[in-house]
């Protein structure tokens, strides 16, 4: 599976994830509050400089991640061009590109474990209010584990389909896929229970 994280280790990898996220929030809010063109152009150049700083491999991976923005940029520019307000169109496009670039930068330089740790810190107060946030510790690895399993199974089903028909399999694969997922859920549920389960209140855990 493709990865959204950086191909090279940068210095930013060692910065605390919470700090990076807080910086991202501050920068995003700041850009939304100002309507100055100079500030927006400066911000975009600054973000580009951040992408370029760790070297060409990092820059190329970063720009690859930004490719999905291109159609939106075109649509927004054409749209505002037709209605005639170039000024605000350029500003909005600049802001969007900068914000997405900045957010991708955080994703690229922050490992999954660090983000999960931040998540645990952020959800801890909710847990004290009685919400079952400790269940996330079980649910997140389950999703990460089972997504490739289901993708692979869809591939197997598609192969079996192709062996019998020359038409495209399409949506007909989804019913067997759903059935298998539901059956898996039963088995996983039983397995979790057999091992003591993720349940009970968090206080019971050592």
């Amino acid at each position: 599976m493709i990865s959204l994280t950086s191909p090279v280790k940068t210095r930013a990898h060692h910065w605390p994830a919470g700090l990076k996220l807080a910086g991202l929030c501050l920068a995003s809010t700041g850009l939304f509050l100002t309507g100055s063109m100079v500030v927006h152009v400066t911000a975009l150049l600054l973000v580009l400089a951040l992408y370029a700083a760790p070297g060409t491999a990092f820059f190329r991976a970063g720009m690859c991640g930004m490719r999905v923005v291109v159609p939106f940029v075109l649509i927004l520019l054409v749209w505002h061009g037709v209605t005639g307000d170039w000024q605000s169109g350029a500003l909005i496009t600049l802001r969007m590109v900068t914000l997405i670039g900045l957010a991708n930068l955080v994703t690229m330089t922050t490992g999954l474990e660090d983000l999960v740790e931040v998540l645990q810190h952020l959800t801890a107060p909710l847990g004290r209010l009685g919400l079952p946030v400790h269940l996330l510790d079980t649910a997140i690895p389950l999703v990460i584990r089972f997504t490739p399993v289901i993708v692979e199974r869809a591939g197997t089903l598609a192969e079996a389909w192709r062996a019998r028909s020359c038409r495209r399999p399409g949506w007909r694969l989804i019913l067997p896929l759903t059935l298998q997922a539901l059956d898996d859920a039963d088995h996983v549920g039983e397995a979790l229970r057999a091992r003591g389960g993720p349940l009970g209140s968090p206080q019971q855990e050592p």
Binding site: V68, L119, A139, I140, L142, V143, I150, G170, L179, D184
Partner: protein
């Protein structure tokens, strides 16, 4: 309870897989991914609360940087992009779909699921998606809606497929659809 967690996690994985598997794209010239079909299905099969939990869990993993959105997108950038309204609308759409199937009692489970998918996966989701687009692009809600309306026919098709899938599911695994009341006869064989 453990079973609920497992079902929520497995459906979150289903939503991810439906957006990633190229064989399931519904092609009509432009490939339409089946990701929102997964959201509709989560709400229609698991019901409002667990369906929303599955979609929310999926979204959380996208935010944590996993490339699970259709086309391998993911990360925090998704939540400031023009499609942020759609992504953030996933749990709400699943909840609305579930709410519909749980409260609108129809004889046919498939019909209930299909209409629920139209309500949650199209009406509610497009309202949120267009609002997000309007917010990011600085246009009015009507203009934003006009831009995303081209995708509605594809989503109507997905709602119809959701209905057919749930109809089939009601036949082979009736005990899985907690909201569906089997018309007659004993159904005490549930686990």
């Amino acid at each position: 309870m453990e079973r609920n967690i497992a079902q929520i996690a497995l459906f979150a994985a289903m939503i991810a897989a439906l957006g990633l598997v190229p064989q399931i794209t519904l092609g009509f010239g432009v490939p339409i991914t089946a990701q929102t079909l997964g959201v509709m299905l989560a709400g229609a099969v698991l019901g409002a609360r667990r369906g929303a939990a599955a979609a929310g869990l999926f979204l959380l993993l996208v935010a944590l940087g996993l490339p699970l959105l259709a086309g391998g997108r993911g990360g925090l950038g998704v939540f400031v992009s023009p499609t942020a309204g759609f992504a953030l609308g996933f749990p709400v759409a699943a909840f609305a779909t579930g709410l519909f199937v749980e409260h609108v009692r129809l004889h046919s489970a498939g019909l209930a699921a299909g209409l629920g998918a139209v309500f949650g996966g199209i009406l509610v989701l497009y309202l949120l998606g267009a609002s997000g687009l309007a917010l990011v692009s600085g246009k009015s809600l009507i203009e934003a809606f006009r831009l995303v309306a081209v995708f509605i026919p594809g989503d109507l098709l997905k709602a119809a497929i959701t209905g057919m899938l749930v109809q089939a599911l009601a036949r082979v695994r009736p005990q899985m659809l907690a909201w569906h009341r089997v018309p007659a006869g004993p159904r005490d064989f549930r686990l």
